[in-house]
Amino acid sequence: MKPTDIAAPDYFHKVVDCQWACPAHTPVPEYIRLIAQGRYSDAYMINWKSNVFPGILGRTCDRPCEPACRRGRVEETPVAICRLKRVAADFKDDIKQRLPRPSPKNGKRVALIGGGPASLTVARDLAPLGYHCTVFDADPEAGGMMRTQIPKFRLPNSVIDEETGYILDLGVEFKGGHRIDSMKSLLAEKYDAIFVGSGAPRGRELDIPGRKEAAANIHIGIEWLANVSFGHTDKIGKRVIVLGGGNTAMDCCRTARRLGGEKVTVVVRSGFEEMKASPWEKEDAIHEDIPILNYMVPVAFKHVAGKLIGVTFQHVKAEYDAKGRRNLVPSGDPDQTIPCDDVLVAVGQENAFPWIEQDCGIEFDKWHMPKVDPTTFVSTNPKVFFGGDAAFGPKNIIWAVAHGHDAALSIHRLLSGEDVSERPLPEVHVTSQKMGIHEWSYDNDISNDKRFKVPHRDKVIALKDIRTEVELGYDVKLALGEAHRCLNCDVQTVFSTSLCIECDACADICPMDCITFTDNGEENDLRQRLKAPSPRPDQDLYVSSDLKTGRVMVKDEDVCLHCGLCAERCPTGAWDMQKYFIEMTHAGSACPTKSRSAA
């Protein structure tokens, strides 16, 4: 193998698995260290810069970082990254003084359609640069799906108000209750750029017999949740069936429990394991006495005189064809009818752009989705950008934020007369953490603690009021314990070939057997000859240039604890622990000019 190029910004970035997995590339270990030091405001600001909504995401994020967390490969569970983010939001001081000031306007006008996370991120990035940003939303208040679809017992309004407020206070104009019905007329208003962040607002229908006849008691999940959110709906029947296995279904069933649903049942087509809902959301639903029945396909709504009385299901089983594709086939068991008073349909969301006329220069593909460049988020109309669920279909908040940052960068470059497709390199800092012979400016003593549980409110109290937040969040003590579980993966092991005397001290001390001195070879061959098995080819090998004996140093990054013992036991300083910090390129960052090829 060729010697590893650690100067490439992505090499060490990939070692920080959580940050690499985060669509917005939040510097996770950095903010967790700040939490451990009690510097909550600093931790919050690191988050705010990357993901814009730390308090909201700290309660609702889909957490792609946690399955990626190295700790999960070393013991059973990853660090509770998401809930530590909430800690930063809960315990911070007033951070208003740290936010950017509204700046003098530069005369350029940007229209943002939809007041959700994608649009607000664009506005957050562009407003401080002097752009006049106008956000349009059909709802009276900003937040989009964060406000309408996520129940208040998971995400209180106060948190949404605070974090959307930080953005609107940057001099962003918010036009609530103002639905955009025509792209054409918006284009006629001569905005310099338009960003579409209107989400995936349409709940998918379930067209089976009885749908029309029993319509009064059959509700589309996201519409129903929005009605609950705005107080238009405040009760539901005693027996409720929720159809669907995603996070919306989980929100529906838990909301139904709080509005009078005594016997709430979730029914999914697939197996329990394959459900789209996050495992912790399923857990929370089950904890609230909501059974989840699987491998049952709804075939008809049963009704008597226009009144819904139940849903009939066919039992199915999974069969896999030669290509490993799953098919659901009837299991042969007799159909089952579950009686109910109301049904909530949460079987998916769709995009809908009836308001974009065909002659706007915006092309759509055969799935009726706009043709959007996945890097620049520009549509076929060079002034119109898409982001969030509106761009590539339903994902989640953190993806919308990531899209927003990239789209804002594109808009800024477009309106600065620069090439939109050229993406400036991120700024990377690599700093030695050495303080003394065996002292580091980070805590390298590895905690053996298991993941700390987030305290929940008592179920009886939680179920009484739909606005009572269920999760209480970590207290300071629990947060400190959980923060200590972080392995500081951003503190990198950096090897200098010229200093190494091949004494083996690092290989001997390494608790994870990451380091091997051996003859060089092709990657597959090298992976076979390491001190410990190397089962994850997606985890890089760090290979040195040739050493004095002709061998090379090979380090499997997979399960490195970043404990620094290799550097402590190295007599010549050939190993050093250096903190890697990457500043993702946002609109207006003082960017180096070199363009980059990789993500």
């Binding site: 013991e75 013992l565 036991r569």
Partner: protein
Amino acid sequence: MTYIAKPKFHHPGLKKNELGYTHRDYEGKISTLCAGCGHDSITASIIEACYELSIEPHRVAKISGIGCSSKTPDYFLGNSHGFNSVHGRMPSVLTGANLANRDLIYLGVSGDGDSASIGFGQFAHSIRRGVNMTYIVENNGVYGLTKGQFSATADRGSKSKKGVTNTDNAIDLVAIALQLGATFVARSFSGDKTQLVPLIAAAIRHKGASFIDVISPCIAFNNHAGSTKSFDYVREHNDAVNRLDVLVGRDPIAVDYAPGTVQLVEQHDGSRIALRKIDADYDPHDRLGAQTFLAKHAAKGQIVTGLLYVDPDAEDLHEHLNTVETPLNTLEADTLCPGSAVLDKINASLR
């Protein structure tokens, strides 16, 4: 010195030996030696050898004297018996322990000061008695704990860190061990675990006095130009006569040996050593030949490493003394003191 404890986590894919232990289970406390010390590599080699042999830690007694090397038993086999004895007195403590309980595996860990200076006599007598043990000297040629004076194994003409030339002749412990009748004699280098680990494993399986001299560079005081015990010097002058694999039980011999290059040595306990010859003419069963070979190469400044001599049918001290099979420390009082009738009989036989 590292202040944190070595993390308990280990690689999730670590292999386990027959007892279900990983090599991490054979570790001791974290080393307090200087960073990069050769001794730590020997520690790692002992851990690896014991792991590979699936040795039950409680069946091992590790005994040492004084010095950097003698501190190392604290860093391996944390669940074994240990005795950190007086300077140079490891061999007599080990001999006593071995006499009292012949069932344990004895690891004598010593250094060049402990064995070639203050304990030279002790070393000599434990070897010539044929105590069943593995005697490892971690040999760095300097007194590291007292800041780097030449030890008795420092080569004549080699230089100290400050540039002073050694004018005394060196003691070659391997040559002495051969002369005194050790039945397993080897030399290796802390920086060459592929050679050292199987040597330690073979020595542990050997019945009789096994002696391994391990050149172990002292990073702080003896790893400079002019030293003959530095990493660079040893690597340049290392003349390995063979490399070996230890085969326990019915392990098949790996097939990738070129024909005629492997010599099989079956030890007393049925384990086999597959010696891969590097020097085709070297015969590890010829004590006199080994002595001559060593002397010739030493004169040329070469460091001969490998398994230098082995007598697979060796006897040990217990056989010499005709002691009972049962370890003496488990004999009951009525066996140890069979009564006046037996005493009368013995007395009568001597009249």
